[in-house]
Symmetry: C2
Subunit: 308 residues, 2 copies
Amino acid sequence: MLEVCLLGTGGMMPLPGRALTAMMTRYNGSSLLIDCGEGTQVGIRKRGWSFHPIDTICFTHYHGDHISGLPGLLLSIGNADRTEPITLMGPRGLETVVKALTIIAPALPFPLEFIEIKEDIFTFQQKGYCITAFRVNHNTPCYGYSISIPRAGKFSSEKAEVNEVPMRIWNKLQKGNTVEWEGRVFTPDMILGEERKGLKVVYCTDTRPVKSIAENAENADLFICEGMYGDDMMLAGAKDKKHMTFSEAAVLAREANVDELWLTHFSPALVRPGDYMEEIKKIFRHVNMGKDGKSKELVFEKEDEDGR
Amino acid sequence: MLEVCLLGTGGMMPLPGRALTAMMTRYNGSSLLIDCGEGTQVGIRKRGWSFHPIDTICFTHYHGDHISGLPGLLLSIGNADRTEPITLMGPRGLETVVKALTIIAPALPFPLEFIEIKEDIFTFQQKGYCITAFRVNHNTPCYGYSISIPRAGKFSSEKAEVNEVPMRIWNKLQKGNTVEWEGRVFTPDMILGEERKGLKVVYCTDTRPVKSIAENAENADLFICEGMYGDDMMLAGAKDKKHMTFSEAAVLAREANVDELWLTHFSPALVRPGDYMEEIKKIFRHVNMGKDGKSKELVFEKEDEDGR
């Protein structure tokens, strides 16, 4: 199960009831955060989640509304007695920005490990997550993130038999390990069928609607996309400020054939994003407005009778 | 009238409903902030106050819970179209800390002016406020602040007559100006009686209860003091971490003969500060628990019949 929570859905500045941008996932005991605006800590507490298991923090870019909550969050993670490293990931400049901000969090009890993304697309495996960062189009280097949980193929006794795999190592192979046994090397594919559909969440803000987004969001279970402006009349402003209207996000969701779209990163001037719901549903039916604390549990597809 | 609002009352980490430490005053169109923890911006919005008139920001010290909200606040003040300078004031290191934090607020439309306090006591006049910073005792250099609004003496027609002050310059003199008129220099004291009782708010966190606090808080209209721990059993911890218990703050208030004490900067473990109210009232009767948004309007004492 992959749990997803929008901790904050505001762009630019925090409002009462609308913290700045942040999204968190939990999978197999490891928490992952994308962006960390002011209010992220309170959002985590409101959701009832913990600071300690945050292993990974990804940044789309370094505008204040996406990272201002970081030094406070790191202090709170330290107060939760974490000593294991935290991996931080983001565009060039990450280490410089984080080291400047942590002037007020000088003695953290855990190390920070930095991954600065230079490529247009970059994939990284971390604690069971497959994280792909893809370049988008904002007024500063900015990345969207695809967070996926791959799912191995089903166990096949036929393949195990054909490949003469001893039963006592089946379990280890099913867990993805390569096993050496009585002079032979066994790999997981020797007992497993084809890889099955996993889970995929794509998070994308701040950007114009570019091709890389639809490509990377393809067939996602959940596509979380910025919608700075609800009104199509704001398109010129959206182009100028390198943001999107709700309609543009909905077109991306349709192109990418995602299961569900959540809009987030609302302009402070956009008091009731829900007012635009009916219009946007005409473009893409499976749209929901994000709001602080909005959560979902994604589960692997059910198998047929003989599935495992 | 001097308006006071506790924007946040939490120490260490923000909680739902309890933002980190910050206090704001408004007087004569100029807003002054002491400390700026995460949540300060939202506190200002909830109170219905504006970002634009914030002329002065004082810091007690630079632990994260007292300054983490600064870069976001500065961005929001910028979005409120301020171009006039903002004066920042705090212990040594102010400029270094602020310049590091504002890496995520790089193009502010107003200049920042820095006053780094090196003395044990330092007084500064700013926009009608008389600000006195006094050294307290924490595990890093830390200051308390006395914010006072002085009040000139009453107009005295007898003095004006004795000093032969022409009636047409009375008004200018009453406003505190020195006036040259027909070759003579006139000063406000030539038409005013003795200075009257003004208004005084004293703000003090994080610190052990030291003598400088009672001295500087003497006869304050409002004394806002840290109370990290409610339970007297926490005294050893308070000494170790250089904080105070409620009782210690109440003893200071009694010594300083203040009109009213508000407690603030509560430990995250202190869920219901009000539980200790009755006990603390035995030490100092005029105590109130701070909470986010707690406000008061302080007004000059009423005059007798012939007062102006």
